[in-house]
Subunit: 192 residues, 2 copies
């Protein structure tokens, strides 16, 4: 095996680093090659295309997010778990917004690997919802409600959509989550 040093994994890692540093919109094969001190064409010895590369970056990003989510809810129940999950999600979107964008922006393929990762993304939500005494169907619906609220909030917060009024965004987020928590307790409590 000739000329060691570079592998598929190290290329993906370099892509992740570059995206986190300069932003996903600034990423290109040329800049990645420059950072790795090779010519752009040489990248194709390690990855098939920029799309496949971004898919790998997305998988890494999803892995990191799911990791944080599962850590956050470990050993917690009901509202404590719910708010911890929400905070972990929001933190990731804030601290790694470029990676978060990769997760959200790049197409959901009918790919088996990503189908499994979709399951991993949803899993922490279902774990949290399991404690509220919902039917299975209700869990599925509320999982959507929860994810919609969180991703919508993360998006607007980062894209500047919430800067029209100079009021605290933490408080808005708390109100949003409390609203959902109330809905959950009500739905679960009444057992309909």
């Amino acid at each position: 095996m000739p000329r060691q040093g570079l592998s598929k994994e190290s290329v993906v890692q370099a892509a992740v680093d570059l995206i986190e540093e300069k932003g996903v919109s600034q990423f290109s094969m040329g800049k990645l090659a420059q950072r790795l001190k090779i010519k752009p064409a040489s990248l194709y010895n390690h990855v098939e295309s920029i799309d496949k590369l971004m898919k790998l970056v997305k998988e890494e990003a999803i892995y990191q997010l799911v990791q944080l989510e599962n850590q956050a809810i470990a050993g917690k129940k009901k509202n404590e778990a719910l708010f911890a999950l929400a905070e972990a999600y929001r933190s990731f979107a804030r601290n790694h917004y470029q990676l978060y964008q990769v997760i959200m922006a790049f197409p959901k393929e009918n790919d088996l690997v990503l189908k499994q990762e979709a399951g991993e993304i949803i899993s922490p939500f279902l774990k949290v919802l399991a404690d509220y005494g919902l039917t299975e169907n209700q869990q599925f619906h509320w999982q959507r409600v929860l994810r919609a609220m969180m991703s919508g909030f993360a998006f607007h917060e980062q894209a500047g959509g919430f800067s029209y009024f100079p009021i605290d965004q933490d408080e808005s987020f708390y109100i949003a989550m409390q609203c959902i928590a109330n809905g959950l307790c009500q739905t679960g409590g009444e057992k309909r």
Copy 2:
């Protein structure tokens, strides 16, 4: 004034049409020029750059969305207005997803025109919230909650993020909006 026919407005309109037909990701100055039967360079007689052009497309898209929102809530109050607004928003995101994407994806500039449009986007939400007996601050917070939920839902619904479980998306949306409606009534009713 020489060679009539093409103007800034008609270029923007052609761009809107092309984006709605082929998708924003497929849009380019070359394809727009091809459709208008001119060379790409000639477009720069009418628009400064592709960024400025997309800004104009975004303004048009925002205008259409705000129009629909205001129509939807006209003459309605409280939950009736809330659900009508939500439905109008969701319909636009479904029926004109490419234009919706332009609104969401392109950067919020510190531009006066877009600052005004941000106000127009927020305005229908504030109108609806005005009937719930909230304080001004509460209105600002709930406006964010509402927009986060709606945009998060629209995004996942279109991007395929809600197709993991084969359950009705309308029902999920109804649950989400009912959750917010309950939160609003509760907050407003208690008058704290």
